[in-house]
Symmetry: C2
Subunit: 248 residues, 2 copies
DNA sequence: AAGTTGCCTTGACGCAGATCAAGCGGTGAA
DNA sequence: TTCACCGCTTGATCTGCGTCAAGGCAACTT
């Protein structure tokens, strides 16, 4: 554990989010020390599969940089994305040792891993970590349930608008970027990945993006960059009843 | 705390599942005592709403008997069920004090409640409870994600078959009922509730149930009772790749 | 006995989104 | 320079499920 690491720890953002979010927030030096001893980093290239569904998984991890996805696949190839992992998101499941879905790196990804056994042991001794993990898991459960509403009941147009809004919100939580009063968003996903996320086909995704553009809800710059002139309008298109306090 | 209660505690099933699942499994008498002091029971009638989305929710609870549902509703009335609470399931969210979805009693329901504040305090002192809760939440997250695959990618027929399989499996975990080699299942939901769960309309639910019956995948006895002659056949119809070890 | 209500089934029809297919622009390799 | 490939767009057509509508059955009320 270098001095550099320690500095990170006592700033409000570290290179290893789990350390920060689970432990550092409370600045418990001994817990930190224990975590430091069992952690290691791994890198993955864009497109690379990190874990296959059903594989033995003997670590838990936290995304340091890049974007990874969780997907489930049916025998005939139908795919559904069930989670999007952004930096600071947690993956892995204490108390189970095989993965339930494929984890794939969408961009180049760096993960901060902890071997599961020692991590679990540490959890039994440091309630803060278990509690923090519980909070994070409950958050994920909430967003999974929001996603169920989207998948089950929203139209294609609403789905696209929701996705853009969600990405904008997540982006904004990190660094809000505005130019000329517009909210700017980079789509980190291909049309096909969006389709897998939204339960649509890539053609429908493309058509609806074009439609939203035509109607002035979003502005397209290139294929992956979106500007949002009016966030409330977007939320209306998404069928959401509130903006979740993002711009409050 | 009555003698009766104590007896339950040291049997392998209590009237209050959280006590059993979170604490009693490890037989920690003092944790139990603390839980006992802050718990109380509440009953709800079939159809009654337990909490409205957005309401202040100052307790967490565990279902003792009956069936409750979690639903989200859009302004225009489109509804999506996002969870089905069977006995022993947990509801409520430590660390947040408003409900994120409607909780409704489908049948008469008895809940074992804990006021949130003291429950949270207790959690900080007793790592077992937080850990058990984490495990339960991770399980819920897994099933939410399985449900996302269903909502996003399965056909109406597959959705119905999946629902029947899931209810059969849950039922079986408690008490497996077979007559003449058949698995018997009572549907605890109306057609409309099934539709809200599966992201369909009640007409489609009805049609697909009829179709599965016509094709011999299920036998209907009355409107709510189903017999399954061949569970593997049902799973095949559901598009699942394994039976999750239920009959192993 | 007749009417009401809740839950369910079935039919006819229309539409949102899937499927099939063609083509475009950018990028990298030969 | 040409070719191939990938990600994307757009058009034409098809289809599964939603929508609208009618009616059946069982339980309950008057």
């Amino acid at each position: 554990m270098s001095l550099q690491d320690l500095q990170f720890v006592h700033q409000d953002c570290g290179d290893c989010p789990i350390r920060h979010r689970a432990v550092c927030a409370r600045c418990e030096a001994d817990e930190l020390a224990r975590l430091e001893q069992i952690k290691y980093y791994r890198s993955y290239q864009a497109g690379q599969t990190i874990v296959w569904s059903g594989d033995r998984m003997d670590f838990v991890a936290s995304v340091v940089s890049g974007i990874a996805t969780l997907t489930q696949t049916m025998e005939d190839g139908r795919r559904q994305m069930v989670g999007l992992l952004l930096p600071s998101d947690f993956v892995g499941r204490p108390g189970r040792n095989s993965a339930a879905y494929d984890v794939t790196a969408t961009t180049d990804v760096v993960m901060c891993c902890f071997r599961k056994k020692p991590f679990e042991e540490m959890m039994t001794q440091t309630p803060h970590v278990a509690q923090r993990l519980l909070e994070m898991t409950l958050d994920e459960l909430d967003s999974a349930r929001e996603w169920m509403l989207l998948l089950g009941r929203k139209t294609a147009r609403e789905k696209i608008a929701s996705l853009v809004a969600i990405i904008a919100r997540r982006d904004a939580a990190l660094n809000l970027r505005r130019t000329k009063g517009m909210l700017n968003v980079d789509l980190p996903l291909t049309r096909e990945e969006m389709a897998d996320y939204l339960g649509l086909t890539l053609e429908t995704v493309s058509r609806q993006i074009s439609a939203l553009k035509r109607d002035g809800v979003i502005h397209l710059e290139g294929k992956r960059h979106i500007a949002i002139p009016d966030f409330d309008r977007l939320l209306e298109e998404a069928g959401d009843d509130s903006d979740g306090g993002m711009l409050a």
